[in-house]
């Protein structure tokens, strides 16, 4: 569900492998992401370009993972959000909670 793309000193870059992010995979996704956060304990940049639809269960799992990241004093940055998903984040103000970048280059520069 999540593949590890790059592991550098400053950050770890991840990529989702699912298309439809919903109740069927939200818990599993959260468990995988939290395990990665705990293991690597560094800034996590998550490329979500594989995701075409995200339901509220999955958004909840993503926010819970961010809360976990903040609690262990790290962060989750998002990249590759498709326009529909980015628009949803803006509509429900999740763009204020997550740092969102176009791609890995922008995220690492920021």
């Amino acid at each position: 569900m999540i593949s590890i793309e790059t592991d550098t000193e400053g950050y770890i870059a991840l990529k989702t492998t699912i298309n439809e992010a919903n109740l069927n995979n939200s818990e599993k996704f959260k468990a995988e992401l939290i395990a990665i956060l705990d293991q690597y304990h560094k800034k996590t940049i998550l490329d979500m370009s594989s995701i075409g639809y995200m339901d509220s269960s999955f958004l909840g799992a993503l926010v819970s993972s961010l809360k976990h990241a903040i609690a262990i004093k790290t962060d989750i940055l998002l990249t590759g959000l498709r326009p529909d998903i980015h628009n949803l984040f803006t509509l429900i103000r999740l763009d204020k909670v997550f740092k969102i970048y176009k791609n890995l280059n922008e995220a690492t520069a920021g």
């Binding site: 569900m1 492998t17 699912i18 298309n19 439809e20 919903n22 109740l23 069927n24 995979n25 818990e27 599993k28 075409g52 639809y53 995200m54 339901d55 509220s56 269960s57 958004l59 909840g60 926010v63 819970s64 809360k67 529909d84 998903i85 628009n87 949803l88 509509l91 429900i92 103000r93 999740l94 204020k96 909670v97």
Partner: protein, 378 residues
């Protein structure tokens, strides 16, 4: 042909046999997709979840039993009905499979039409069982007289309120609605959506609703009529409640003041509401900046003042109204919903007719609870 198109994943390393099966299943109205190995099946299952899996036993790499064992470790996939298709009929293999909660074994020589009938019957039984479990919980909820959706609308001077709600798959879910009439002058309107689906989300609606009701009542007892301040208090309490830890909810809180005709609105991670200005025949988005309830304890909420003129309307709704399944997959389309609604309102179509034309959708298209509240200044 099944009433609703059943979806099956066929797993077999014999591509010719797989093709024959696909043709036969499709002919009888099934939606089919295939994998020629267990590893490929697991990859495909991550993207696309079927109603049932029919898997060969003897395959190179991971065999059918190992495939089933892998699925048993995956939360979202272990409960999909699983049937073995095998040329083997030895007792040991069957016993091993049944230990792994495989629903049935079908011998490969069985005529394809018999295989399809058998799978149809399995799905009918599984669905019947699910319906019975649902019915039991529904009856228990009814007996306890707990409701997260009101039975009637409030009577407010100069304002008409109506709503429409449809539970996803007819199972109560995370949407909740409430109307709190403080007195002749003030009425609060509440629309929330617990992030999640079906029973698990539904269970938490009562915790949230209790806090919202209490916060409104305590506030109004102290002559406090600010939806933003009330939301802030609700959020602070929820963030302290261990039971609701990691349970997030959106909330739209609206206060109607019949004396001034002003509506005050504060939102927590909710979709922007829509304001139809009758005089100009335009539908405008009204946004606030509040974050989801339960996210962070120390966030501020602000409110919007909306002046309703004669025949103006407000529409407050949850994401189930804008998330729809299409052939290419599920899509969130706030703008599309807004445009359709604007088109109907411009023709002078009323809420009852809008319900029929815009909300009455096929169950295959709907992906979540759907709730919408309509407020009209009369």
């Amino acid at each position: 042909m099944p009433a609703k198109e059943n979806k099956i994943l066929l797993v077999d390393d014999n591509l010719l046999f797989l093709n024959i099966m696909v043709q036969a299943f499709k002919k009888t109205g099934w939606e089919c997709y295939t994998a020629y190995s267990a590893a490929q099946a697991i990859e495909k299952l991550r993207l696309n979840v079927p109603d049932i899996i029919l898997s060969d036993y003897e395959m190179p790499g991971m065999n059918g039993i190992e495939f089933r064992q892998s699925l048993m470790k995956l939360d979202g996939l272990k409960d999909i009905p699983f049937v073995f298709l095998t040329s083997l009929s030895d007792k040991e293999t069957i016993e091993q499979g049944l230990d792994l909660q495989a629903i049935d074994f079908i011998i490969k020589d069985t005529p394809i039409n018999v295989i399809i009938s058998k799978l149809n019957n399995i799905l009918l039984t599984v669905n019947k069982q699910r319906e019975l479990s649902t019915l039991e919980v529904q009856n228990a909820a009814k007996a306890l007289n707990i409701k997260s959706i009101p039975q009637k609308t409030p009577q407010i001077n100069g304002i008409s309120v109506d709503f429409w709600h449809h539970a996803y798959h007819d199972v109560p879910g995370g949407d909740f609605i409430d109307f709190i009439q403080v007195n002749q002058r003030f009425t609060f309107i509440v629309l929330g959506d617990i992030m999640g689906k079906k029973w698990m989300a539904w269970y938490f609606t009562f915790g949230y609703l209790s806090y919202v009701r209490s916060a409104v009542r305590f506030a109004t007892l102290s002559n406090e009529f600010s939806p933003a301040n009330i939301l802030q208090k609700v959020n602070s309490i929820i963030c302290l409640d261990d039971v609701l830890q990691d349970i997030l909810s959106s909330l739209s809180l609206i206060l109607i003041d019949t004396e001034t005709g002003i509506v005050n609105y504060a939102g927590a991670g909710d979709l922007p509401l829509l304001h139809y200005k009758a005089h100009d025949a335009i539908l405008e988005q009204v946004s606030t900046d509040g974050l989801l309830l339960g996210m962070f304890a120390d966030v501020a909420y602000t409110e919007q003042k909306i002046v309703l003129n004669k025949n103006d309307q407000l529409f407050i709704f949850t994401d189930g109204m804008i998330d729809m399944a299409h052939e290419a997959g599920v899509k969130t389309d706030y703008e599309g919903f807004k445009q359709k609604l604007a088109g109907l309102l411009a023709q002078g179509i009323n809420f009852d007719e809008i319900k029929k034309r815009l909300f009455n959708l096929s169950p295959d298209i709907v992906v979540d609870d759907q709730s919408i509240i309509n407020i009209i200044k009369t």
